[in-house]
Every structure is written in structure tokens, then in C-alpha cells.
């Protein structure tokens, strides 16, 4: 049974696109067929995060307007042949597509794929309405900051109002060192405030920047963020996975290095 999942946040810059790329890639890694749709028309980004920017011929708007068939616009991933991207249009705007057209598109894609993931633009306007139109469930991404959480709360309310079946929360860019000294809200604080099911916590990890630079999602590798994203994928498919311990002690050399830096 296939599922259409929208990845959304309200606020920009909290990691929707990174999360979309990693969850999509992770699900493909687990053996599922996945199509990622970049619904951020005018601000195309998912293609570069996946490293597929040089292969775009047709885009979402072309498909919706009937300039090409869906299959022609789908770009196959470099590493996983069950992973596809439907890129967004860069030179158009959000009004080029309607929620009804998006619903029709996702319904067609769910016939072919196990998972249809929609990378939602920031905001609560037309782009958001388009992205959630055909979705069965949502992953709401937030960071432990007041502005991001406030926007996430608004988004959760809108998802409920639009009868999206299930909403799960991803707390992104958590810094355990700051949480420990009380200078950052903890995951418990965020969940307490938003009162929604937590599906994963992703630590603030330099490896994310490196992986985005290279255009290769890090899901499933040995980094903390890579493990966290893989756990999220497993929970998405319904497995029970314990929360990752983000309190990994630093290696001997890292500690030694810090000692010398301080003095």
C-alpha cells in the first residue's frame, strides 16, 4: 500500500529539503520505490541537495500543464534506481499549479510508487495548499527555536483542519551541549508544547553541510545525523525503533584536541 507524505514546517530554513532528500533516499535504501516531488515552484532546491541538478529536462509544471508525460519528467537517482525526483520549475510561481492538479498527480504517482514524498515550500499560502492537497500524512520539521516551533504549531493546526490523517514531528538541528546547559529547549520541551507524535530527532551535525555540498544525502552512514535519518525512515515504514542516544561521548583524540585548544 503506497503512501503520500508531505514534509512541511511553516518556517523556512529549518531543514525541510534536507529531510525530504534523506528520508526519500533512506526509504529507497530500505528497498522501497520512492518519488520525491519538489513543490517549491520558483525556488527549486531539492535537485541540488540530491545532486541531480544537471539532469533536469522537464519539471512539475510541465507535467501538470501536459507538456510532457510524468515518466519523461522523472529523474532517476544516481545511486538508487528505485528513487526518482520530480523537480520543480524555477521560472514559474506557486499559482502555476492548483491543489486539484496536485491531488490528481499524487494519485497517479501512488499507483507506481510505494512512497510519494512532497517537499513543501515555507509559508502557509498557495504552495503549502498545493503540497498538502494529496497527502495522507505529514512530517513536520522544526528546530528547537521559538520562531520555528510557533510556525510548526500553526502548521499542525492547518494540517488538522485539512484532515491530514497523521502528523509526526521531527526535531532537527538539536544541540545536546546547549540542551545540557539549559540554553536550548529539549526534545521533551518541544513535544510538550506541540503535543504531537515525535518520529525522530536529528542532531546539529557538520556532516549534513558536507553531504549537501556534495549532493549526496548521508542517510544510513555512520554519522549521527545519518543514523538519525535512517531511524526516522524505519519509523515511517512502521518499525519500532528506540530513539538514538545523542549523548555519544567524544573520542579520545577529540577530547585531547579540545584540552589543548582551551589552554
Amino acid at each position: 500500500m503506497s503512501e503520500v507524505i508531505v514534509i512541511t514546517s511553516g518556517k523556512g530554513g529549518v531543514g525541510k529539503t534536507t529531510t525530504s532528500a534523506n528520508v526519500g533516499t533512506g526509504l529507497a535504501k530500505l528497498g522501497y520505490s520512492v518519488v520525491l516531488i519538489d513543490t517549491d515552484i520558483g525556488l527549486r532546491n531539492l535537485d541540488v541537495v540530491l545532486g541531480l541538478e544537471n539532469r533536469i529536462v522537464y519539471n512539475l509544471v510541465d507535467v501538470v500543464e501536459g507538456n510532457c508525460r510524468i515518466k519523461q519528467a522523472l529523474i532517476k537517482d544516481k545511486r538508487y534506481d528505485k528513487l526518482f525526483l520530480l523537480p520543480s520549475a524555477q521560472t514559474r510561481d506557486k499559482t502555476s499549479v492548483t491543489p486539484e492538479q496536485m491531488k490528481k498527480l499524487t494519485d497517479e504517482l501512488r499507483e507506481e510508487f510505494d512512497y510519494v514524498l512532497l517537499d513543501c515550500p515555507a509559508g502557509i499560502e498557495q504552495g503549502f495548499k498545493n503540497a498538502i492537497a494529496g497527502a495522507d500524512r505529514a512530517l513536520v520539521v522544526t528546530t528547537p527555536e521559538v520562531a520555528a516551533i510557533r510556525d510548526a504549531d500553526r502548521i499542525i493546526g492547518l494540517l488538522e483542519a485539512n484532515e491530514i490523517g497523521r502528523t509526526d514531528l521531527i526535531v532537527n538541528r538539536l544541540r545536546m551541549d546547549m540542551v545540557k546547559r539549559g540554553d536550548m529547549m529539549s526534545t521533551d520541551d518541544v513535544v510538550d508544547i506541540l503535543a504531537v507524535n515525535l518520529i525522530g530527532v536529528v542532531p546539529d551535525d557538520e556532516h549534513i553541510v558536507v553531504s549537501t555540498n556534495q549532493g549526496e544525502p548521508l542517510v544510513g552512514d555512520d554519522s549521527l545525523a545519518g543514523k538519525a535519518y535512517m531511524n526516522i525512515c524505519r519509523r515511517v515504514i512502521g518499525e519500532e525503533v528506540p530513539m538514538l542516544d545523542l549523548n555519544v561521548s567524544e573520542g579520545f583524540f577529540a577530547k585531547l584536541g579540545k584540552l589543548f585548544k582551551k589552554n
Partner: protein
């Protein structure tokens, strides 16, 4: 200066953030826009002004959380702090 700073105990910013957020979300969730709050405030001023003279510059009306009397935890409430300047002569009423 540095020595004194060490003893100064500031509230951790994480819990400050949480408290601020809770307040913001209460009014967000109540769906009260600043315009509605302003209209509400003005009408309350009008009504109370019929009976007493109030300090309209220093009054404060906001949606906040308060512990419920029936013990269901915290519930949203409108909190109004309206300083009275002078109670009007009752014999007129």
C-alpha cells in the same frame, strides 16, 4: 566584573524560550488577531467607563494561561489589569 558574573545566576535561556512560547501559542491558538484584541480592549474600556473612571493608558488586557479552579491544569484566560482613577458618584445611577 568577571568574578561577580560567576555568581550571578541567570535563568537558563531554554526555559525562558519555553515560557515565552507557551504564552504566544495560547493567543495564537485562540485565533485572536491583534485587531480583535484591540477591538475587545476598546469595548471593555467603553463599558467600564460608564461606571468608573479608569486609567486607559496603563491598562493591560491579554490572553494568558491560568490554573483552572476545577483542577484540569492550565486553561486559557483573558487577563485584564485596569487601574481605576475614580469611582463615579453612585447616586447618579
Amino acid at each position: 566584573m568577571g568574578l561577580f558574573d560567576m555568581f550571578k545566576k541567570n535563568k537558563a535561556s531554554g526555559s525562558v524560550a519555553k515560557d515565552r512560547l507557551k504564552l504566544v501559542l495560547v493567543s495564537d491558538r485562540a485565533g485572536c488577531s491583534p485587531e480583535i484584541m484591540e477591538a475587545l480592549k476598546n469595548e471593555i474600556i467603553q463599558v467600564i467607563s460608564k461606571y468608573m473612571e479608569i486609567d486607559t493608558d496603563n491598562l493591560n488586557i491579554q490572553i494568558t494561561q491560568t490554573e483552572s479552579d476545577t483542577g484540569n491544569g492550565f486553561v486559557p484566560a483573558i487577563c485584564a489589569n485596569i487601574p481605576i482613577k475614580d469611582v463615579k458618584n453612585r447616586s447618579k445611577i
